[in-house]
Each structure stands twice: as structure tokens, then as C-alpha cells.
Symmetry: C2
Subunit: 344 residues, 2 copies
Amino acid sequence: MVTQTDGETSHQPTVKEVAALAGVSPMTASRTIAGGTNVRPELQDRVLEAVRALGYRRNENARRMRAGEPSGLVGVAITNLGNPYYGNFALGVEEIAATHGRRIVLGNTAEDTQRERRLIADLIGRQVEGLILVPTGQEAAHLQHGLGDTPLVLASRTVPGVDVDTVVLDDVGGAYRGTRVLLDGGHRRIAFLGNVTSVFTGRRRYAGFTRALAEFDLVPDATLVKRDQQDVETARRAMSDLLDLADAPTAIFCANNRNTIGALKEIGARIRASNPASGLPAIVSFDDFELAEMMPVPVTVVDHDPRELGREAARLLFTRLAGDRFAGPPRHVELPTRIRVARP
Amino acid sequence: MVTQTDGETSHQPTVKEVAALAGVSPMTASRTIAGGTNVRPELQDRVLEAVRALGYRRNENARRMRAGEPSGLVGVAITNLGNPYYGNFALGVEEIAATHGRRIVLGNTAEDTQRERRLIADLIGRQVEGLILVPTGQEAAHLQHGLGDTPLVLASRTVPGVDVDTVVLDDVGGAYRGTRVLLDGGHRRIAFLGNVTSVFTGRRRYAGFTRALAEFDLVPDATLVKRDQQDVETARRAMSDLLDLADAPTAIFCANNRNTIGALKEIGARIRASNPASGLPAIVSFDDFELAEMMPVPVTVVDHDPRELGREAARLLFTRLAGDRFAGPPRHVELPTRIRVARP
DNA sequence: CTGAAAGCGCTTACAG
DNA sequence: CTGAAAGCGCTTACAG
């Protein structure tokens, strides 16, 4: 039974103290702790006993500094820890990092460039060997300068002027094919629910949307394009406005998970109020979500694998770290998306 | 435009190199970098210019070591990064840590005691000031020894024999009240879908379930109790077995999010197959989930706030760190749950 | 205002 | 096999 009331003073013991207690030199203690090569078994026993008695834990930072070894850490900065998409992204990074004996240090930027800047500075200061970033915005200054020789990989989004290794989704192609499902199904009044234009993926998905429309000689109807929703509640309200239009859309392209959920919640509310305005629209959702097949309207999902995105970002980083880290031009990987009709 | 092809050699510059380039002593460089007190402006300019030229970044590990300062890091170990519940938990920890000027280092144990052990050792070795852990199992050995003087807080689950600060949910009360909703609604054949008995929360929620039944002079029917599902697919199959019973349950208590989703997916599959066996059961879900109100059966949610769980864990830790860290007995906090009927 | 010396905790390289 | 010396990158404390 361990308790936190044993009255010991707060202090992490050092090799010196271990050595003193064992009656050996710090070097003998250090050698024993490192694995015990070239130390008499008898002395090893005494050292290990002292380690136990003092609760000694080697200071990894000090060790790596003297040994000239890298930190063994990879920094990962994501925009929203509470979003399972980025959680799985981080899992993918961790998976590959583990195979290289590295641990990840994870930070959350909360879509705030200021926080991103501070986080990166801190991670670099703590000697991460490389940095994987889902960038918050389009500001490049803090990414161009101050990273020193620490390799940077951008994931999911790019930043203009920052020409480093990147892995993104096939946003344009995915949005195009998702929209085509609606067009091929006969829909012509198709609305777009997306997030702010400043976000890389938002712009790309809108581009895929318009490309599909163009093939049917259509251009987006401004009254059907809503591009400012960052969360579920604003998405729900945007959806409500669309459904209240005299000439309401027959289908909705939702450019991300948050917009999909908001749109569906509004549909649900109207069903429960027995007030489905006009007929209920079909939905395309860029991003998968759980229980898609339980929805009262047909949902087409533009699916992709966040974990693979993380894996690929890590692979790019470790390739960089393995070779001459400035050799070769930056590589740009685009991962595919899959169309899945949740409820035909 | 920054590229990774500029041919520089890989090497983080040091104060010494900055000082040499600026033509001053390392101390003058150090003082300037630290903020510039007691350094002639002219020298400061030269140092800062050298910093820019070399892309110098202070080694935070080295600085803190010499200065005798703590690392400024709090270790957080969760069981599943891909679960938004724990992502939000980590956000809560981060929120409080930020107000104390600390950063979190997040690790994932993947419900694996071996990984938990290694992760903790590593975090301690990297000098975290404290550790917040969602423990994987019931093994206590690595938690009793080897943490040294680093305070530990257990969150969501406890470990027998490890008597440290803890914050858990009111699992028993929440499960009790959720089950009461079903009983008060007239249900008498109520099934239990939960996870393995070895998990703390699983046991507690089952206890709340049986307590509610007892008030109606009922005992759990063994054929209606399924307690081995760790993921959605196994939960779905367990649900299928229940619905296929000759005397199928009229209501299901789902002890966690994964079991709820699995149960609902099976219900959805049967509706789509126009084969709702007998009537569809009511659902109680311990853990909230998105779009609960869109389900084709009544869903009662035993809701709680993972972020607040994280905040509270961090508060316990910082209280410990602020005072004499071994003063006072361990504190045990239990956070409330709220009953929410998603669709009456 | 400036810098040479010493040391944070650890280990490499060198001498026994 | 063992240890005194030196140094990783940085800063405190001490002398000018």
C-alpha cells in the first residue's frame, strides 16, 4: 500500500547519492544503472540496493545531453484534441514513432495561431527531433524561421510559402466524387455547408464541389452556399435557413463532420416536430461519423483514414531524419478517400 | 519561402557559438537571450543578430537543469487516444495545466499494462512534475514503487492498494438512476451490456444496475447479462443474441459508449431488414453520444463531462504540487452524472 | 556592465 | 574492474 503521506521531503535522488549510499564512485553507480557491464557483481548488488532504497530514477534529459543523443521525442501539434479524428491521427503518428523507438509529445493548438507559435517554440526548446503539425492558419512566419534544423511535416493542411514534406487528403477528388453521387442521383439544387474559406481543406473541398457541378453545367447558387460554420450549432442553424428557403435544396454537401452533424440534427428536429418543411434532403458527408446508417435520410460518406494520415506523416518525418535531413526536395503525399453510401 | 533543401548540416547551435559569432562571452549571450538585463544595448544587438543568423534556440532542458527549475511538464497517460472521451479529458487537464504555466505530455497506453509501465517510467525519466493516469488494469506494483516523489493522480478508475488522489465518476449512482428510469417506465426484463469485470467502471456500473433492480425485488437474469464486449462489433453481436431470445428483454442498460453504439447498430440493422424480432427495446446509455436524439428507439443517456474529469484531476495534482506534496491524506473526488432522456 | 569559474545530473574518454 | 577528470548546454554566484 503506497500513500502520499509518508513525510519524505520532495527531492529526486541523483547518481551521486546512490553512489554515496552504495559506497562506490558515481561512475560505478552509473555503469550499474546503465546495465552493469564491467562492474563486479557484488558492487552491482550494492548499487541496485541503493537505487531501490532511494527510489532513484535516472534523469533522461541529463543522460541524453551528455551522451550527445537526440531526445527520442517527436512533437505533434493538432488543432483539436477533443476531435476523435485528430486523436486517431495522433495514434497513427505514435504507431510509426514507436517502431523507431520514439515517443510523441502531443500539444493542442485549439485552432489558435498564437498558441501554435508558442507550442512549436516550446517543443523545439525541449529538443524534439522533428515536428508534425496540423497547421491552424495560413501564417507562415513562425514556420519559416525558428524551426532551426528540426524537420517539419505538415499534415491535413498546407501553408503557402512553407515548402516542407506534407501529407494531405484528396480533398478535391473526394468532394468531387461525393457531389457526383448527388448529381448522378438526379439532384440539381445542391447546397454546400462548409467551414471558413481560410481553412485549406475548406477551400479544396469547395473546389471539388464546384468542379462536379460544372460537369453538369451548373454553378453554385450563392443562396445555397454556407461557409462559415465551425461547430455543430452554427451548422444546424445554417441548415435550418436552407430548409426554410422557398426553393429549398434537395441535397446537401457537408464539407466536414461538424457540418454533417449539425445538418442532421436539424433534420431530426423537424421530423420530431412533424414539420419536414418540404421533402428531406439527401446528405453527403465529407468525413465519416458513427451511426451514419441510422439516419432518416440517405447519407453518402466521403470516408478516409485519419490514422493512416498520421502514419504517413510520421513516415515522411522519419525518412527525413534517417537520411541527410536536408537532402532531396520536399515530398507531397495525397491520401485517397472512399465513397460509402450509408443507406441506399 | 523556406525549403528543406538548403544543404545546411544538421546541428542545433549553442550559446557558445552565438557568443563567438557576436564576439562576446557566453554569459553576455546568455543574459541577452534571457531578456537582456545588465547588457549594453550595442552588445545585445550583436548577440540577437547572431541568434538570428544561426537560428539559435535555447535548450530548455539544459536551462532548467542548471537553474534547478522543474520541467514545467505534467505527464498524462490515457487508455485510448482515439476515444473522444479521453481526448476531452486531456483537454481538461491541459486547460488547468495552462493556468499553472505547465504543458502536458500525453501518452497512450492502449489498455496495455506493459505499455503503461514503460510510459510511466519514461515520463518520470523525463522529469514530469506530476502524473495523471487513467489506469489500465488492477496491477499496482509499478505504481507503488518507482514513482519516487512524483505525485500521481488516478482518474476515472482506481487501483486497489494505490491510495493516491483520485477522481472518478459516480458510476454506481449514475447506473442506478439510469436503470431506475427503465424500471419506473414499467420495464422488468432489462439486459446489461458492459465491459469486462476487471475494469473498475464496469464493476461499479453493474453494481448500480443491480441495486436499482433490487429495489423492485429483481435480480439480474444471467441470460440477459453480457459483460465481455470491449468494442462496437462484439457489442452488436451480444445485442443480436439478446434480441433473438425467446423471451427477449424490453430494455437494455448499456454500460458504456461502445456497447451503446453496438446495440443501436444491431437495432438499425433489424429495422432495415424489416425484422424487428419482437418489439424494439428501450436503451439506457452510460456515456453520451452524438445524434442520440436521432435513434429509432427511446434513449436515456447517463451523461457526464470528461473535460471536467480532466480539470478535476489536474486540480488535485496542482494542489499536491503547491503544498508539501506529501502533506494531507489522499483525496477522493466523485463527479456527478446527469440523466438526459434523448427522445421521450 | 562583463566574464571566468563552477555546477545542474549524467556519461565519455582516459588512466590506472 | 574502478574512478578522477572533463564536458553536454546552460546559468548561478562571484569577482571585477
